[in-house]
Symmetry: C2
Subunit: 301 residues, 2 copies
């Protein structure tokens, strides 16, 4: 079983407007709400692929109830850790020009004992692969406390990423900006090597439309999609993590894992909301992704 952990779950609200203009009054023509937060999105994608997955998340207040109700409706198995604060909302504003604007609430502070309750819920499940995703709310401990001996993926940024490396995650998945921010290095291969030295087993860097760069103990690869897609990129990173989790659970070779991860990322861009994937694209694109071994250094003569 794959277990995802979302310490700072959210109710994702998607607004459709004609245009978004600073200083104007906008009539929202369509409102959609669903359970969100990175780990919840990963679980939703894995559930859509028929994988055995369980989401562990915090939830509180009326917003938390809406999150749990949505997971129940979709059929994603979940362990909910109740919290005293009100679960945050994230609002995505889709405008007719194709722009995607996000407004992310910070989320409530965890009270005494709530982080420990989350850690207990994680320990109570024997995960084949553990996925820890997203920001940590105020009052949380470190992701390192959640990572055990099972294969694991850590998808977060900044201090939460750096502190989490002490737990020796099998894979971390920063994007290029997040990788540069935590290492101060512009070269992603050199930066990934730093994170491996600090505890990460492998580093998979998402490069947006250019695909993925994977720096692992058994080689370095670049995987590129066959075409550049336009759509809602919000859940693309979570789809990459879902594919990585599936690949780790089967102990697939890295080039196969990366091929599926790039294809699933594109399938998420084509999905209408974060956590949706276009399964036809996922199937068709897997054979078209170009995976090349990456030679990072020019040898000195």
């Amino acid at each position: 079983m794959i277990v995802t952990v979302t310490p700072n779950a959210a109710l994702d609200v998607t607004y459709t407007v004609d245009d978004l203009r600073r200083g104007d009054v906008h009539r929202v023509s369509d409102v959609r709400t669903r359970a969100g937060g990175k780990g919840v999105n990963v679980a939703r994608v894995l559930h859509a692929l028929g994988a055995d997955v369980r989401a562990i998340l915090t939830a509180g207040g009326a917003t938390g109830t809406a999150v749990v109700d949505d997971l129940t409706a979709v059929g994603v198995a979940a362990d909910v850790v109740p919290i005293g604060g009100e679960t945050r909302r994230t609002t995505t504003v889709l405008a007719a020009d194709g722009s995607v604007t996000l407004l992310n609430e910070p989320g409530p502070r965890l009270a005494d004992g709530e982080w420990q309750a989350l850690a207990s819920a994680v320990r109570a499940r024997s995960a084949d692969v553990l996925v820890c995703s997203g920001s940590l709310p105020p009052g949380a401990g470190s992701y390192a406390e959640l990572l055990g001996s099972s294969p694991s993926i850590l998808d977060t940024s900044g201090d939460a990423l750096l502190a989490g490396l002490a737990g020796r995650p099998s894979v971390v998945k920063p994007n290029a900006d997040e990788l540069r921010e935590v290492t101060g290095l512009r070269d992603p291969v050199a930066a990934a090597a730093e994170l491996r030295k600090a505890g990460a087993g492998a580093v998979v860097v998402s490069l947006g439309a250019e695909g993925l760069l994977a720096v692992t103990g058994s080689g370095t690869w670049h995987a590129a999609p066959s075409t550049v897609l336009s759509g809602n990129t919000t859940g693309a990173g979570d789809a990459v993590v879902a594919a990585l989790a599936l690949g780790l659970s089967r102990a697939d070779p890295w080039p196969d894992i990366l091929r599926r991860a790039v294809a699933l990322s594109g399938a998420a861009v084509l999905g209408p909301l974060a956590g949706d994937v276009d399964l036809a694209h996922y199937q068709a694109e897997q054979g078209l992704v170009a995976v090349r071994a990456h030679l990072s250094r020019v040898r000195q003569p």
Copy 2:
């Protein structure tokens, strides 16, 4: 007692961000929620002034519960008409550059009987002044059905305004754009005369920073603030309506009513959220508002 009616109440959410840029991801640094909708804001302002006021509103779902809880906490007396749909949210995004951007959800459709229940709730209260404010949700009837023989104020726009005139409201309060939209006339005095012919006793036009124009059965006046204020203009129109309601309840002369309305509108611009007023500004500004009789037509020789 002044009674306000809000058929399409809302939970007002105010987000503070550094900047609002279309296509970007924004971290919201501050989230505030409160009961809203125009009639609720009018009641909140009147309550702050110590007036005897009661808000009648629809509320449904978790958002509706949050609206009612907030009114209870503030101490605004309310008659709540439960509805099956989920009360809408309106989101105001305040950016550091002073811009105010609104995202207004449309609100739920009223089910069979819910409009009738609202009308019964209005009839059950013997209002000295009845204030009907804001948009009508789908499934609603006409404001004309709510207006009885008591003095009344109708503050809405478009078809809801035009249809409401059949109920012969004592005062309607369009802004200049709304007035032009419903009459097709650019001259506000001529446009106001049209609305009076169609059933309005008086027309008070809000002109933004230029104050108010009142076209009444006993004269036409222009009331201008002493200074142009910058701040959150969202609740300024509701503050004008609150002052008009107070003036009607006391049968004050129009120049006095307008002086207070302009002062209270400025006090709302200085308040941090819609429905808040700066009482010191309200007191000080009343003596500074310039009210002049308005001579609208050049007599033909």
